[in-house]
């Protein structure tokens, strides 16, 4: 088994120390940091995400795999910056205004990172304008909004309305999620995608951004 395959295997098992050591070894052997990232780390994370969606593994397995990925990324990131590696895409994410629940949002951040996205996490209680301002500032592809209660989910609509007012609606892919959100609500407020879980969110985000960039 090659070092990259081994790295992916260890990542899926959540062995942070092994992953870290293998990333270092790969760098020492002058392997392309992009290959280490995509084939060693992210591919393993995608497999875990897929297994999670299919109920083959559960939240704890995803968590330890993510931790292993982060351990590897910590070493790899300086090299990636050095060679000017472009992420798959950029996403601005946050829990909507009036809402402080962030566990679901945090898991989405984790999976988006695992799909190769650069993430700007605005945290919780984010007012509609802030999503847009930040997206404009960093040149994001996606705006992701999360809400836990029916009382706060109308804020998603506000953000989309403001995007329209500012003539920016088509510039961004808007994704929504959270316990009370569903497909029809997404359609109703004019968001682009609703995904029921973090793994699906990452999968959809990667697909649509890649397609959009391809033309």
């Amino acid at each position: 088994m090659g070092i990259i395959e081994e790295m992916s295997e260890y990542l899926q098992k959540g062995r942070a120390k092994n992953v870290k050591a293998l990333v270092q070894q790969a760098l020492d052997e002058n392997m392309d940091p992009k290959v280490i990232l995509n084939d060693g780390l992210l591919s393993g994370m995608m497999i875990i995400g897929e297994k999670f969606k299919n109920n083959e593994v559960f939240v704890p397995e995803v968590l330890v795999a993510a931790r292993a990925m982060n351990a590897g990324l910590a070493i790899l990131e300086p090299k990636l910056v050095e060679i000017g590696n472009e992420p798959v895409g950029k996403a601005v994410i946050g829990t909507v205004q009036g809402d402080l629940h962030d566990i679901g949002k945090n898991l989405v951040v984790m999976m988006l990172k695992g799909a190769g996205f650069e993430i700007v996490d605005l945290g919780v209680d984010v007012d509609p304008a802030s999503y847009i301002d930040k997206a404009e500032e960093v040149g994001a592809d996606i705006i992701c909004m999360s809400a836990l209660l029916t009382t706060t989910m109308p804020k998603m609509q506000d953000c989309i309305d403001q995007l329209k007012e500012r003539g920016l609606r088509d510039k961004y892919i808007v994704m929504v999620g959270g316990a009370p959100v569903n497909e029809s609500f997404c359609e109703q407020i004019g968001a682009d995608y609703y995904t029921p879980d973090a793994a699906t969110c990452a999968e959809v985000a990667k697909k649509v951004v890649t397609e959009r960039k391809a033309g």
């Binding site: 939240v59 330890v64 009036g98 962030d102 984790m110 497909e183 609500f185 029921p196």
Partner: protein
Amino acid sequence: MKKTDFDIRISAENVCASIGADEKSDLHEEIMEELREMLPAAYEKIRPTALLEFGSLEGYSVEKEGREIKEALFCLCTVGKEMVEWSTRLFAEGNCLGGMLVDAMSDDYLFQMDDVLQESAVAMCRGKGFGIAGRAEAPQDVPMSIQKRAYEVTGAAGEGIGITSGFMYDPVKTVCNIYLLDDDTERFRPEHDCSTCTNYSCRRRNLPTVNVRVVTKEKAVVIRARKSEPLLRSLQENGLFLPAVCGGRGTCGKCGVRFLNRAPEPSVEDRRFFEEEKLAEGWRLACCVYPKQSCTVELFESESGNFVVLAGEEDQPEKRADGEYGIAVDIGTTTLALQLVDLKTKETVDVFTDINRQRAYGADVISRIEASNSGKKEELKRSIREDILRGTAALTENGKIRVRRMVIAANTTMVHLLMGYSCETLGVFPFTPVNIRTIRTSYREMFGNMVSGQPSLQGGADMADFEIIVCPGISTYVGGDIVSGLSVLSFDRKDKPCVLIDLGTNGEMAVGCGERILSASTAAGPAFEGGNIVCGTGSIPGAICKVETDGEQVKVFTIGNAPARGICGTGVIDTVCELKKNGIIDETGLMEEPYFEDGFLLSEENGGIRFYQKDVREIQLAKSAVRAGLETLISKYGVTYEEIDRIYIAGGFGYQMDIHKAVDIGLLPAECEEKIEAVGNTSLRGAVQCLTEEDALERMESMAEKADEVPLSSDKEFQEYYMEYMYF
């Protein structure tokens, strides 16, 4: 009152389990170890604070058992902001596992604070001369804005707690419980009510239920039975059906079960139906017994879903989240069938079948009408709507799949019960329906006020609205289910006359083609479903469904090859056919001695399953009603058997019946035997067609309007045929 001294130990096992790493997980040990390392820091960071103050709900009130409650004891409790900051920091560092564990530790601590605070709340209320009628939480019991009121009453701002525009507290690990004050000082119910809670994925979800082990002849299963409801209801919810002819009122005595241990005290109803000895053995009526603790119960007469509602739907394609779907519904008096159809490909994607739970109010249409007329109208409406919602939730994976349309086909009584129409006029001359036209309504209108406050129907609540169409009927006795069948069989497009017969209790039938269709219904009675037969039963395991004789030798076949327990419809027809063949009954239906007195023994099992003279008479009445109806209709239509192209037999019973034997006993005409075809559930198929074909509804409406009904009960010709076909 402010309380900050809590002696609470976080349960590592619970925390682990709450993130999905319980003992069964491969990662259990690893995560437990990680958690143990984090615990000391957690105790450093947790700053428990609870604030309890009395106050009014300020213009708002909560109804509890018919009383309006406006005063409460508000309780806010928090683990402080450091835990929240810690969790956020760990996530930001990419340590999601750590973040999740901190979050789960906070929850565990809060849950334990709640236990302590319930005691404090009871003590405070007792001191003020109040009881606690219950506990309210936002948003499931009260609006989120009440959290603002609680915030003000308890003076939480002074403790550094904030509140957002969405009425959530900051730090997020702060909860609000509202104890509703009661004048009854003997009653204290401060517990969280999981049954109304909307946090469905909560691993601590604890409905007040007990485990009941249910033993039947075929299997033993463990069900969760609610303490607050009669056992009968919990059994029904788990697909275990007992005969409940009286509708669970404790008057028919048919739903007896035997407690093999921990039998509750017998009720008044139990004493009416069971001797002292039987009571001591553990016999109780399921409709009157409330399980209070885990126990084992034996069922003897359970009916499970052995109904052939659909045939041959396999290899179903997958559901697509971006697809558009329709749902076809057939509401039968006994069963309910739903079919999810992809509107683009017109393929059936999924099916859902269940018992119509209105059966708890009586087995046939007449008893349902009676129940409706005696004040059960709303209950019956709710029952069927709940059944449909349950099916819809199952088919759409709790509303995740986009539904555009629903088409419902049902007999006229079922439509009345569904719509909440009065059934007063259905049961008395001249039997006029309230409405038999096409009904156009919507999901919101029909189910809108039911989905909120119904935890079991999660997801239904936020489903996008869609249109609902109820198929038109011809008359009170020939309903939308028949029209639906006529449509799918294309009666309006045929050149030669065809016949459709639904071999159920109401014996609906129609003859015709093109523009002219005649319909009728005959009171066949429940004999074809095993009703009114001494040893009759529904299509349950152990029901004799096939009988062969060779001289004195009798061979019986049962559903599921289980020991014989009774005779179902197909078995009844077979038996009559064999008895006739062997000369045991003559052409008038008279049984020869010694069978006239003792009945004909079919099986030694269960104390002997016999077929009696009375049973022969029942079948004679039923079959002559159907046959005379058919003869009358054909005669009125002005055709002969030769001119009839096809005879379609609809319904589950017709599907299983041996056509040759049905002809042999005279139920169906021998002249047309090769033209007879069992077509299964045409009502449901018609509803599916209505979903996928644009002109289907229009065609149904046109047929329903043009079809005439022949009132058989007053028809002289029918009376003559009725007597004629009584014989074999």
